[in-house]
Symmetry: C2
Subunit: 298 residues, 2 copies
């Protein structure tokens, strides 16, 4: 944890600036010195109504002592603030004395991957502000998880019993992506069967020596024992990742994804900015001109 | 229709070359002279099992006389050939004398939009080979339709009664995209109610003066009357599009999408080709280098 107190105001302003930045803005922004340390990044994803917010809130309270911890909640519609973002996560009175806990909602409207476009930069900002850990809460099935997978070290998939979530998750290839499965509201019927199913499916995909064996937790997001078990499981996965090659591979994927996304977004901006007459030129000329403009805006 | 006979062998080879071309290959390929005329492009999309192939086959037979007509069937797994691609579309004996009808299956595996990466170039090739009309058959809900929407003039969405397709289509925003709705296997229960629902939903989105009013057809893909009705509806939409501003807007969107996709794909190739050490450089340097490489490969 950073020895200086968290400057919430500065962080909030910087996140807002980033949330509204275009790809061109990002390319122009002065290069920040690499952060002294990098926060652990834990993703929580799942369909709407699976109880991710409550789980994230309780998990944050459980893990916050002794740590600077942030929750970034990606909101498919628009960002919420104040009580709306706290919502069912945490009661106001539980925040007493949690001076190192920071919660922020970020809108994701109109981004093609369902996350905020500048999420990589926002996560870097959390590093720069000395966070030890960031919980990234995302909604959705499919593309969102892939994009989220690349941004985090540990991905937790939250499912509801008998919800059809498993079928959706299998179709979208998420069963292979998640590190930890949480079956929430586990007192609902079908939870135990779902756990058995997931255990079987998830282990099918990973039979290499030394592969991570994803765990399946039956949980109730309001029960302290569930939260403690999830927290322990996250620690176990972080320890498995270690600081060696596994983490290096992860950081590489993240770097590639980020560079690609930035070029893609800048290309979209440049293409959108052309007059109709631009497209009357032969394709090769269009391409030359567009690439030159992408380079020039840097 | 072109006065020269269709060179099926040359077309087949050229399509195969395009299907396997990388973005870099495309950028290097010599600029083809613009085709003398442009084929009408009709998209048929819908969930698997909705009966698109049968419908496309019968529609092609109905519309082929006096036209050079092609079917490009995008296959989510891998391309099929020979009898497999004909499949339930057309019986071999129905092809007698159809010397201007060309059917081709194209694999879409691993593309991010669910279509073939080089589809815009393939469609241009059909123009170069003097086609009057191309039916583009695509499978899926969501991204596929968006990508398909841009490539075609007239988009036909094929649905099954009581299939949940409407809910899926609404979620994915396809109700606003389709020009013609076909409720296939209309003798199944729920067809009439579905038609009423779609009519209501689809008209909600389009209340501007002169907007296209999407039609909802109850069909059975084996009934000649259904095929004739769909064919007439396509004619009506093509006439509405005309040759003026509506078509111009469409061609613009197509040009923008194509340029963006090509840059995106080339960016992905360049980023994937970097050594791990590349990503140790500051982001700004990575960006400069990557953009330079994208430009150089042209």
């Amino acid at each position: 944890m950073s020895s200086e107190p968290l400057d919430r105001h500065a962080l909030g302003q910087a996140l807002t600036r980033l949330a509204n930045a275009s790809a061109s803005d990002l390319m122009h922004s002065p290069r920040r010195a690499p952060a002294a340390s990098v926060a652990r990044r834990i993703g929580l994803t799942g369909a709407p109504g699976a109880g991710k917010s409550t789980l994230a809130g309780h998990l944050a309270l459980h893990r916050a002592p002794g740590r600077r911890l942030g929750i970034l909640a990606i909101d498919p519609s628009s960002p919420r603030s104040g009580g709306a973002i706290l919502g069912d996560r945490i009661r106001m009175d539980e925040l007493q004395g949690m001076s190192e806990l920071y919660i922020r909602s970020i809108g994701s409207r109109s981004t093609s991957d369902g996350l905020s476009d500048n999420l990589p930069e926002m996560l870097d900002l959390m590093d720069a502000f000395g966070f030890d850990e960031v919980l990234l809460e995302t909604v959705g099935v499919g593309q969102v998880e892939y994009a989220a997978r690349v941004q985090v070290d540990t991905l937790v998939l939250v499912l509801l019993p008998e919800s059809g979530d498993v079928v959706q998750a299998m179709k979208a290839g998420i069963m292979e992506m998640a590190d930890i499965f949480v079956i929430n509201k586990a007192d609902l019927p079908g939870a135990q069967k779902m756990a058995t199913d997931i255990q079987r499916i998830a282990s099918l995909a990973r039979h290499e020596e030394g592969a991570w064996r994803p765990s399946v937790l039956l949980a109730s997001s309001s029960k302290p024992a569930s939260i403690a078990a999830l927290s322990d499981e996250i620690e176990r996965h972080q320890a498995w990742l270690g600081l060696g090659e596994r983490r290096t591979v992860l950081l590489q994927q993240r770097a590639r994804y980020r560079l690609r996304r930035l070029i893609e977004r800048r290309a979209a901006e440049v293409v959108a900015g052309q007059d109709p007459s631009f497209f009357e030129a032969p394709m090769a000329e269009q391409l030359d001109l567009a690439l030159r403009q992408i380079s020039q805006t840097r």
